[in-house]
């Protein structure tokens, strides 16, 4: 047994008082969870501590919170690890971000998370004709979408999505991962329509800024950002969806820019994203971007010299990486369930267990 101090963010909507911090000392084995710590505080000291919880085993997705500022499940975080990540030895637990707080650690997931989930038409639009028995589909496809099926809708990825902090209409990591579950499902008839809607939505597929926050937050290895990138590759490369947000062309321009320059040449990127300096769309878009450019210059982020005179050329190493990646006959998709994380002693692919 060891003692731990929990500092809980409390908020009572009926009191008229602002949120406050509330400390409790609990006693548990260091490998027990923060949730068990909170439940002990509730059982021994104060039954009014509000937190949703049910399974205790990271399956039901109820107890999403922030621990020492990082989003995750309270039941999935060990007390000793939580202490190690705290600044002053006290485990700080707050409600998740990006969603309104109802009481204490309980947030309004309906108002944000579920609303976004519903926006991606989150049900199978089955291919016709529906067979009498099961759809015959490649084994790998079902294993593949099981990764996004493994999402428990806890909201941890939504809590700290940086793009959503800037654009609260951004459809967000959980809903986009859910979308992949249908886009990647060969039984679904509307792959192209789903992708087009997500790509054309100005708060959709291309709003993600690749910050990796959702990847770190997810307690189930769903890798929402990875699913978003896969949606983009299927939308842009396979379905050739040339979205009005310039998302796909921007992405292509970015890759070409790096291939050419090794490090980013921002002035080129801007115009290339709109199809090059001579493209009729480039000028209006450039003019529209002018305020941002001016602000960046005023803050010293960009200088005219840096923006216009970019002499750097990609070194050999960068060129070799491009050659290697583009040399693959097939695109290589990484998926937890398909590949396993560390297959050091795994038997060859396709080997089945003898049960």
């Amino acid at each position: 047994m060891a003692e731990f101090t929990l500092r809980l963010r409390r908020y009572d909507p009926e009191s008229g008082e602002p949120a406050y911090w509330d400390e409790h000392v609990i006693e548990l084995e260091p490998h027990r969870s923060v949730l068990e710590g909170i439940l002990q505080a509730r059982a021994r000291f104060d039954g009014s501590i509000g937190i949703r919880c049910s399974c205790r085993a990271a399956i039901c997705g109820s107890c999403g919170v922030r621990i020492n500022g990082e989003p995750g499940l309270a039941c999935h975080t060990h007390l000793d690890k939580a202490v190690a990540s705290s600044t002053d030895g006290v485990i700080e637990v707050e409600p998740m971000g990006n969603m309104p707080v109802i009481k204490d650690l309980i947030v309004d997931m309906e108002a944000v998370h579920w609303k976004k989930i519903r926006a991606v038409t989150p049900w199978l639009l089955a291919r016709e004709p529906v067979p009498e028995r099961e759809y015959v589909v490649p084994r790998e496809t079902m294993v593949d979408i099981t990764q996004s099926m493994a999402c428990i809708q806890c909201g941890a990825c939504v809590s700290d999505c940086l793009a959503m902090e800037v654009d609260d209409e951004f459809i967000g990591p959980a809903a986009l991962a859910k979308a992949y579950r249908f886009v990647g499902d060969p039984r679904d008839a509307e792959q192209e329509a789903r992708l087009r809607e997500l790509a054309e939505d100005e708060h959709g597929l291309y709003t993600c800024t690749h910050c990796f926050k959702c990847v770190d937050a997810c307690p189930k290895g769903v890798d929402p950002m990875g699913q978003i990138m896969r949606l983009r590759r299927i939308a842009g490369n396979d379905q050739k969806i040339d979205d009005r947000n310039n998302g796909h062309r921007h992405e292509e321009a970015f890759v070409k820019n790096i291939e050419r320059n090794g490090v980013l040449h921002e002035a080129d990127l801007l115009t290339d994203s709109f199809g090059g300096k001579l493209n009729p769309r480039a000028l209006p878009e450039l003019l529209a971007s002018a305020p941002a450019v001016v602000t960046a210059m005023r803050r010293g982020k960009v200088t005219p010299a840096k923006a216009l005179l970019h002499h750097h050329k990609a070194p050999k190493g960068v060129k070799a990486i491009f050659k290697e990646v583009e040399g693959h006959a097939e695109r290589y998709e990484l998926n937890l369930y398909v590949s396993g994380r560390d297959e050091d002693d795994a038997p060859p692919a396709g080997t089945e267990a003898s049960a």
Binding site: D12, E14, H31, R42, A43, D46, G47, S48, G50, R52, S54, C55, R56, A57, A58, I59, C60, G61, S62, H78, K103, D104, I106, E110, I117, R118, P122, W123, L124, A126, E132, R133, E134, Y135, P138, R139, M142, V143, T146, M149, A150, C151, I152, Q153, F182, D185, R187, Y337, V338, G340, R341, D345, A346, P347, A349, G350, T351, E352, A353, A355
Partner: protein, 564 residues
């Protein structure tokens, strides 16, 4: 006052399936749950769902395995219905989007499971319950115009009219604290089991016997309440479930001497004998000093014999559970497990359409007892039970609604329940804490009403439960608010659990034989002559349990000695 043709309480698999089935019949439907539907405990079902899908399989074999698994206490007409409709149900789930694992030919893959003579368990990695639950919820979102959802509403009472017909419920909006009368032509209870009567348990914190006690309090008889399943593989420390799928994929059970001891208990099926048999074998090894781990109270589950790639793609969840909650990499070393409370075969007695003895009141899923599980449920039959009897309840209730007028209901009971909650909140800080009473209840049940039972222990348990019922009347709460007052709901849940636990103990005392999950060391033999019958418990006018019996329905399979 909201009114619906069919009002469903509980939004796990049984409730969601019932709602979709009833809505399909064109009646008005509401689905109410004390938690958001995807938090329901069905989410924790791991291994899969049984159906005689394979070309060399037959639903009659599935039915026989189920009858044998039940130790011949299951009602064979109900079992025939469940097993004969299983393949169609699995195909329906596949068509609406469940991502069932495929074989090399792209057809549904099937894994081995306990007590089954063939591979007949369809699965989604080891998150089958989660996949089913989330896909049904997808369908509810799709059909939100035909099914009203009341998410995070807590039922305090079932309403009966003067003639004893069910006419609705009283419920509390957890978020606001508002109490409301819901009138309905039919109510379907689908509010799950009672695992929190035990500690430890694999069950979620929300499994507090709500529906069982609510139905019992208005006079609905309960059946098979003594039949409490201990799952053979739960984590020693906190009771978390390690799926039977692990043994289905080939994992071994080992004692302290490194023996695959199941050889001595079930030479043919080994680790894949029925759960009661495996749990008892483990408990015997532990009691005879061949256990492992802390105080020798565990057994090794060795999953390392399963190829690593197969573990990672089909048992990933227990890789996570081993790593996160036991600090063990199950792909490299054995993990210490023990038998732990997992499921109740008993529940509110229903017919094959989910109808209880109370007109207009239905029950489906773990809250109900049809009885398809009898003395012991086979792994991967519970998901099937929830879906088949959830659907049948929904359909039957919808049909009944079409010939029934909307009842007239007053707010009298709602006002009583408001007063009841006010009284709990006003209790002085004098009695015991809710958490203390829950702890004592759970440990008592897990000691005395467990794998092995005897008269002395059961009598002790009954005494404790009855004392706790009195103490629960004075237990106090800290939260005096209206918004998300989980404290006061906890006090109400405690009352539900104690009522349920009392019937479990009374049933176990009554059954003076050993059958399925009930093993009486003082009556170690099965006694078909005297006890091939269900124990039914209903409350008398003062709420005290009264025992009666109900015959077991036998269609094809006469009782025989059970060997695995």
């Amino acid at each position: 006052m909201p009114e619906h043709d069919v009002l469903i309480i509980g939004a796990g698999l049984a409730g969601q399936r019932a709602a979709l089935a009833a809505a399909g019949e064109g009646v008005t439907v509401a689905l109410m749950s004390k938690v958001h539907p995807v938090r329901s405990h069905s989410v924790a079902a791991a291994g899969g769902i049984n159906a005689a899908i394979a070309a060399d399989d037959d639903w009659r074999e599935h039915a026989y395995d189920t009858v044998k698994g039940s130790d011949f206490l299951g009602d064979q007409d109900a079992i025939e219905i469940m097993c004969s409709q299983a393949t169609a149900e699995v195909m329906h789930l596949e068509h609406i989007g469940v991502t069932f694992h495929r074989d090399a030919d792209g057809l549904l893959d099937l894994r081995a499971f306990g007590g089954a003579s063939k591979k007949r368990t369809a699965y989604v990695a080891d998150i089958t319950g989660q996949a089913l639950l989330h896909v049904l919820y997808e369908q509810l979102m799709r059909h939100s115009d035909t099914v009203d959802r009341f998410e995070e509403w807590f039922v305090t009472s079932i309403l009966l009219d003067d003639s004893g017909t069910c006419v609705g419920v009283v419920a509390r909006d957890v978020r606001s604290g508002r109490m409301e009368t819901f009138r309905a032509k039919n109510v379907i209870l689908a509010s799950g089991g009672a695992g929190q009567c035990y500690r430890p348990t694999t069950n979620a914190l929300i499994c507090t016997a709500d529906g069982i006690a609510q139905a019992y309090r208005v006079g609905a008889p309960l059946m098979d309440m003594e039949m409490v399943q201990y799952h053979p593989t739960t984590l020693a420390e906190n009771g978390f479930l390690i799926t039977e799928g692990a043994r289905g994929e080939g994992a071994h059970l080992l004692n302290s001497e490194g023996d695959r001891f199941m050889e001595r208990y079930a030479p043919n099926k080994m680790e894949l004998a029925s759960r009661d048999v495996v749990s008892r074998a483990e408990q015997t090894e532990i009691l005879e000093g061949r256990g492992v781990g802390v105080d020798g109270k565990g057994i090794y589950l060795d999953i390392t014999v399963v190829p690593k790639k197969r573990i990672l793609e089909s048992l990933r969840e227990i890789v996570n559970i081993g790593r996160d909650f036991a600090g063990v990499d199950i792909t490299r070393e054995p993990i210490v497990i023990q038998p732990g409370q997992h499921y109740i075969m008993g529940g509110v007695k229903t017919d094959n359409d989910g109808a209880t003895r109370i007109e207009g009141l239905y029950a489906a899923g773990e809250v109900a007892c049809v009885s398809v599980h009898g003395g012991n449920r086979l792994g991967a039959n519970s998901l099937l039970d929830t879906l088949i009897f959830g659907r049948r309840s929904g359909e039957h209730a919808a049909t009944r609604a079409k010939g029934t007028a909307m009842p007239r209901v007053s707010d009298a009971r709602r006002n009583d329940d408001i007063a009841m909650i006010d009284a709990i909140i006003a209790r002085p800080h004098a009695g015991r804490r809710i958490s203390e009473i829950r702890e004592e209840l759970g440990t008592t049940m897990n000691t005395e009403v467990a794998v092995y039972r005897d008269a002395a222990g059961l009598d002790r348990a009954l005494e404790v439960v009855r004392r706790l019922k009195e103490e629960a009347d004075d237990c106090y709460v800290d939260d005096r608010g209206a918004v998300f007052n989980q404290d006061v709901l906890g006090a109400i849940e405690l009352g539900y659990m104690l009522d349920c636990a009392e019937t479990m103990v009374v049933g176990a005392i009554e059954r003076k034989e050993s059958r399925g999950a009930q093993f009486r060391t003082d009556f170690p033999k099965r006694d078909d002559e005297n006890w091939l019958k269900h124990i039914v418990i209903a409350p008398d006018a003062d709420g005290a349990p009264v025992v009666s019996y109900s015959p077991v329905t036998i269609t094809r399979w006469q009782p025989e000695e059970r060997k695995y």
